[in-house]
Each structure stands twice: as structure tokens, then as C-alpha cells.
């Protein structure tokens, strides 16, 4: 999965209000044996979507999902906790999401998401409650201004780590940035050992 730039997006929300949605829910471990970076969308939330025999569940909340119109996932607190698997943001992106909004997003997931062009947005509790209560509402997420505008309900602000933000907007490559520090790294290695 290549990193895609991100600046602004208007889309409807898809709401999963449960708290502690861990990366094993986002993509179960048995789908982690692939050595590729793409194609994980079909495994996204697999056990929420399919029964033990691999048949689509009639009761799945994802039956109401449309990848063309629902690019913003609104999730309960502590989204993305658990395993550090980067397959989780890969799966969400491949499935169709570009933004995850919650009151609280797990550290490693957040870091992985930012590196792949999936924007993790942490909003205040009141805004979060409003979003949870209005599934399908139209929301504009503006990374340059770090704002979330909810149709008819006003605006909220969020913070993204400044370097990650620049990387997303301007397409700066973090590995390129690190490779540019090679002189400092060599100096450190000489001094330290």
C-alpha cells in the first residue's frame, strides 16, 4: 500500500460505536500470513461481516456500508488498541476508509495510520458523542486547518503531530527525512561505540 497524500475530505460517516475495537477485530491474525502490502480490504472486520462458514452475515452492520460515500469511520474510544500490525490501517484503507475519528486512538495504530495516509483524528468527548449519535452525517475533515466540520452541527478542532501532518499534506517521505540525517547518525555511532 503506497502512502497517499491527504489534505481535505468531505464524506459521510460510518459509525462503529463499540469501545476498544482492537486490531484483531480490524483484521484477524489468520489473514496476516501474506507478505504483500495490499489486498487486505477483503479481510477488514472479517468476523463482523462473515459467519464461521464464510457466508455474509445478515445482521452485519457493514451491510449498510458503501465505500464510495462512507470514507470516514467514527469509532468508540480506544480504537486500534492491541497488536502493532500495520495490516490494520492497510485493511481499512483498502476497504475504503481515509479517516478514523474517535475520542481516543491507540498510539501504535495512530503512528501506523499516519504513515499510510489514513488520517487518525482525535476529537473532544462532546463532538465524539455527537458524531456517534448521527451515523451517516456529512463531515469535512481539513488537515491543513486541523478542523472537523459536521453538517449542521458546527466545527471542532484536532491536533496531528506536525511532522506527520507535513508528510501527509506535502508528501514528505519520512524515510527520506531519516536518510538525510545519515551524517548525524554516523557521528553518533562513532561517539557512542
Amino acid at each position: 500500500m503506497s502512502r497517499e497524500p491527504f489534505s481535505k475530505l468531505t464524506s459521510r460517516t460510518f459509525v462503529l460505536s463499540q469501545e476498544n475495537i482492537d486490531t484483531d477485530q480490524i483484521i484477524p491474525a489468520r489473514f496476516l500470513t501474506s507478505t504483500l502490502r495490499d489486498g487486505y480490504g477483503k479481510a477488514a472486520f472479517y468476523d463482523w461481516r462473515y459467519d464461521a462458514n464464510g457466508r455474509p452475515k445478515n445482521s452485519s452492520i457493514f451491510n449498510g456500508y458503501n465505500r464510495e460515500t462512507h470514507k470516514i469511520l467514527v469509532a468508540g474510544p480506544n480504537f486500534g488498541c492491541g497488536s502493532s500490525r500495520e495490516h490494520a490501517p492497510w485493511a481499512l484503507l483498502d476497504f475504503g476508509f481515509r479517516v478514523v475519528i474517535s475520542s481516543d486512538i491507540a498510539d501504535i495504530f495512530k503512528s501506523n495510520a499516519l504513515k499510510n495516509g489514513l488520517l487518525p483524528v482525535t476529537v473532544d468527548d462532546a463532538t465524539h458523542r455527537r458524531l456517534l449519535a448521527s451515523p451517516g452525517i456529512e463531515v469535512t475533515v481539513d488537515l491543513e486547518n486541523e478542523s472537523v466540520t459536521i453538517e449542521g452541527l458546527g466545527e471542532a478542532h484536532f491536533k496531528v503531530e506536525p511532522f506527520a501532518r507535513r508528510c501527509l499534506i506535502d508528501g514528505v517521505d519520512p524515510l527520506g527525512h531519516l536518510l538525510n540525517q545519515v551524517a548525524a547518525i554516523e557521528a553518533y555511532e562513532r561517539a557512542d561505540r
Binding site: 463499540q18 469501545e19 476498544n20 482492537d22 484483531d24 477485530q25 484477524p28 491474525a29 489468520r30 496476516l32 500470513t33 501474506s34 507478505t35 504483500l36 502490502r37 468476523d47 464461521a52 468508540g76 474510544p77 480506544n78 488498541c81 492491541g82 497488536s83 502493532s84 500490525r85 500495520e86 481516543d104 491507540a106 498510539d107 501504535i108 503512528s111 501506523n112 504513515k115 499510510n116 503531530e161 506536525p162 511532522f163 507535513r166 519520512p174 524515510l175 527525512h177 531519516l178 536518510l179 540525517q181 545519515v182 548525524a184 547518525i185 553518533y188 555511532e189 557512542d192
Partner: protein, 472 residues
């Protein structure tokens, strides 16, 4: 100078470029551990960009997640869960070979779960920065290392530059007071700590575990505690090194030798948190009245004493979890029938853990109908356990004694529960489906898991302590 914490000191020593408002710090990594699941895509990026592994000498690979725990068949063929799993293992072998990285591969007597072998080889040392594409890298913090899990993109960063872009996290100290009662151990402390802080309470923090009850723990116990920092949301959990740490490391393969050892110990002695060091948050936990703990929900912070009763769900989330776990409100947990027991994982698969389980299983039988799996954390643990006859204890009790690996902790190698099974597991995650589709996981200590295997229900291990009366 301002008083510094253990974490402050290790962090400061590894800053290559200071952090600014615009950019995170460039942090040097002393040891990079890799395994088959989270590394292939990182090597692909390296190869695409024509980059080399900067420090193969600081990189160490092992095979653990996808590897079978059953022996090879007569033709020498290992029973992989799928062709993809086999290909994933082959990819790591190929990548390590091409990039000159040492791999503790299949058949290597040093192979094992990544967080078990690092300390076992003495590669894990106080004051080091250690990363791995695996969230339980916090385990290595038990030695006073700054160790944390990273994603695959970052695995690529470390392979290419031996560095990571990181902002310094906030700090939290969790102090454990009191003396642990008999039959209660580090796993119970970990579950109590997670229950106290919450599954997201440690987010954005590096935790230091301190206090008399932590000092009293063995190195194995300290590893169990640091291992589960991530279940409280913290990427880092660390403990100041002391004599126990040094004794544990001395003489191990990768540990310094001779004069270098004395020098290292002197340096390590200076790592402890100074009086007056600042912590953004302080938590205190008294362990004197702690009971053996179990989880009864689908998040590791939902726990109770093993002899408690299932509470009535207080919210929608709790009801959802209760529906999944099927513990009947008001009934004792000990009435719940257990289908499987798993003793293993980087949380509890070291020799001390196996001894604790064997002490309860010795001379007893696993309850009919219960499948019990004992999976040592490494080849070395397996050999040591067999040398003292623990394998016989488990086999005679009717449990299965397997080859080392992650096994049912993540259930991606084919070892899994059946839908609906109630599994008592010494691993670290009780998420929905973690141990197989629709499997219900109860986390517990090795002693508790062993007692559950014997009784076929959730059971209190204190009943099996020598000279124990009836524990209510």
C-alpha cells in the same frame, strides 16, 4: 541538573537529533528484533529503494508466529497452517540471508518467541533501546531497556537507518507496595494494574514499574509485568536494573564478558530513577490482598478475583461483552466449564511459568474433555524444562507438550480453539476471536490455568498450595 528518571536517562543517551516543534527526535536503536509477520513488507521497501540493512550486527531475527508447534512428519515436512504461512517463513529466511542478518531459524537451538529469546541470549540489556514490529516488545523493559513495538513502515526505517523518528512520551510511575500472598504472582499484578489504569489509561505514556513488590519479583515475573504494559495502552514499561538483573544476564551469549562486564554493570547501576524525578502521572497499587486474577470480558482491563461472581453488566458495552463470554450474572466464575487451557506466550512461557504450572499438575490429571496445551517459549526453555522432567509431568497429566512458538496466543499457526470454546490462557489478549473464531478467552496466570485444566472449570490455584486448607 534536574533529577532524571530511568526512562529520561535511556532516552537522552539515544537522541541523535533533538526534537523540535517541526520534527520528532531521531532516536538511535541498539537492537532491532525481527520476525516473519511484520518484516516482509519492510524488506520489500528496502529492496525497492535499493537500500541495505544499515547494521545487520544490531539486527536479530527469529521465527515464532507462523511456525507449527507440532513436529515435522516422517518426511521432515512441518505441518504449516497454510502455504502462505510457509512462504512467510521462507521470506524471512531469504531476507535475512540476502541482507546478512542473523536468523535463529528452524532447527536453531536458540530459536523461540522473540521476547523470550532476547533476554535469554543476553541481547536484551539495561540502558539499551530495543524495538521490534510487535507490541509486546515492552517485555524487554524488565531489564531497564527502553523497548517498544513499532509498525512495519518503522521496521523499514530501522533496517535502513538504525533510527526512528519519535517524540518523547509522557511518563507514569506505577508503584507496587506490599508483599504478594502465596499463590499470587506477576500475572495477577499485571491484570490488577491494567484493571486499575484501564485499557487506554497508559496511552501516550512510558511506564516505570517500581516499589518493593516489583523488586521482589524474579526477572521472569518482571518480564510478565512489563510485557502487559501495552494492554494498559502504554508502549513502554520498564524496571530499574538491580543485582537480580545482573545475575540473570551474566555469562549469557550476548552479554559483555570480562572487564567489559564490570564496566557495563557500573554503568547499569547508574540508570535508576533519581529521587525527585518528575512523572506526569503516579499510580500506587497495594498487592497485599491481591487474589489470583482472571479476565471475564473481551478487553484485558475487565478482570476479577478468580473466586468472585460474575457481575451484572452495567452498560451496553459490558452487556455486549457478557453476551459473548456467557458468564451468567450472579454465578461464581468457578461454575464455568473450561474447554481448553493454553500455557505459553511471551507473557508466561518461561521456565518459572512452566514450573508453576507443573507444581499443580504433578500427579494429577487434566479433566476429561479438556484440551491442555503447554508451549515453551523457546528451544532453551524447552530443553531446561525437559532436563528437570516438566515435560513428563505435563504429558502424564494428559496435557500436550509442544514445540516452541506463539501458538494459541495469536492462533495464526493453526493452534486455535473451536467456536464457542472457553479457553483459559496465560497469554495477554482476550479480544473477540483472538484465539480462534468465536473463542472465549479468559486470561490467567500459569498456576491458575493449570488448576483450571485439572478441575475442568475456572479454579483457584491456592487450593493446591502445599499445606493449603480449603480456600473459599
Amino acid at each position: 541538573m534536574k533529577s532524571q528518571s530511568l526512562f529520561d536517562k535511556v532516552w537522552a543517551r539515544h537522541v541523535v537529533v533533538e526534537e523540535t516543534a517541526e520534527a520528532p527526535a531521531v532516536l538511535y536503536i541498539d537492537l532491532h528484533l525481527i520476525h516473519e509477520v511484520t518484516s516482509p513488507q519492510a524488506f520489500t521497501v528496502l529492496n525497492e529503494r535499493g537500500l541495505k540493512v544499515r547494521r545487520p550486527d544490531r539486527t536479530l531475527g527469529t521465527l515464532d508466529h507462523s511456525t507449527p508447534t507440532l513436529k515435522a512428519d516422517a518426511k521432515g515436512k512441518l505441518p504449516y497452517a497454510s502455504r502462505e504461512a510457509e512462504e512467510q517463513v521462507a521470506a524471512l529466511i531469504r531476507n535475512c540471508d540476502e541482507h546478512g542478518v542473523e536468523l535463529l531459524g528452524l532447527g536453531d537451538p536458540r530459536r523461540g518467541i522473540v521476547h523470550v529469546i532476547g533476554p535469554e541470549l543476553g541481547a536484551t540489556q539495561p540502558g539499551k533501546t530495543i524495538v521490534c514490529g510487535d507490541s509486546h516488545t515492552s517485555t524487554h523493559g524488565a531489564f531497564g531497556a527502553l523497548a517498544f513495538g513499532i509498525g512495519t513502515t518503522e521496521v523499514g526505517h530501522v533496517l535502513a537507518t538504525q533510527c526512528l523518528l519519535q517524540r518523547k512520551p509522557k511518563s507514569m510511575r506505577v508503584t507496587f507496595f506490599g508483599t504478594l500472598p502465596a499463590g499470587v504472582g506477576a500475572k495477577d499484578m499485571a491484570l490488577a494494574m491494567i484493571g486499575e489504569i484501564g485499557a487506554d489509561g497508559g496511552q501516550g505514556y512510558a511506564i516505570e514499574f517500581a516499589g518493593p513488590a516489583v523488586e521482589a519479583l524474579s526477572m521472569e515475573g518482571r518480564m510478565t509485568l512489563c510485557n502487559m504494559s501495552i494492554e494498559a495502552g502504554a508502549r513502554v514499561g520498564m524496571i530499574a536494573p538491580d543485582e537480580k538483573t545482573f545475575d540473570w544476564l551474566k555469562g549469557r551469549d550476548f552479554a559483555p564478558k570480562g572487564d567489559a562486564w564490570d564496566q557495563a554493570v557500573e554503568e547499569w547501576n547508574g540508570l535508576a530513577t533519581e529521587e525527585g524525578a518528575h512523572f506526569d502521572r503516579e499510580v500506587e497499587i497495594d498487592v497485599s490482598a491481591l487474589a489470583p486474577m482472571i479476565t471475564y470480558g473481551v478487553s484485558p482491563d475487565v478482570s476479577a478475583a478468580v473466586n468472585a461472581f460474575a457481575p451484572s453488566p452495567a452498560s451496553g458495552v459490558e452487556r455486549h461483552a457478557a453476551d459473548y463470554m456467557q458468564f451468567e450474572t450472579g454465578k461464581a466464575f468457578s461454575e464455568a466449564k473450561v474447554d481448553r487451557v493454553f500455557i505459553g506466550s511471551c507473557t508466561n512461557s518461561r521456565l518459572e511459568d512452566l514450573r508453576a504450572a507443573a507444581a499443580i499438575m504433578r500427579g494429577r490429571k487434566v479433566k476429561r474433555g479438556v484440551v491442555a496445551l503447554v508451549v515453551p517459549g523457546s528451544e532453551a526453555v524447552k530443553r531446561a524444562a525437559e532436563a528437570e522432567g516438566l515435560d513428563r509431568v505435563f504429558i502424564d497429566a494428559g496435557a500436550e507438550w509442544r514445540e516452541p512458538g506463539c501458538s494459541m496466543c495469536i492462533a495464526m499457526n493453526g493452534d486455535a480453539g473451536a467456536p464457542g470454546d472457553l479457553v483459559v490462557s496465560t497469554s495477554n489478549r482476550n479480544f473477540v476471536g483472538r484465539q480462534g473464531k468465536d473463542v472465549r478467552t479468559v486470561l490467567a496466570s500459569p498456576a491458575t490455568a493449570a488448576a483450571c485444566a485439572i478441575e475442568g472449570t475456572i479454579a483457584d490455584p491456592r487450593r493446591y498450595l502445599e499445606g493449603a486448607g480449603d480456600v473459599a
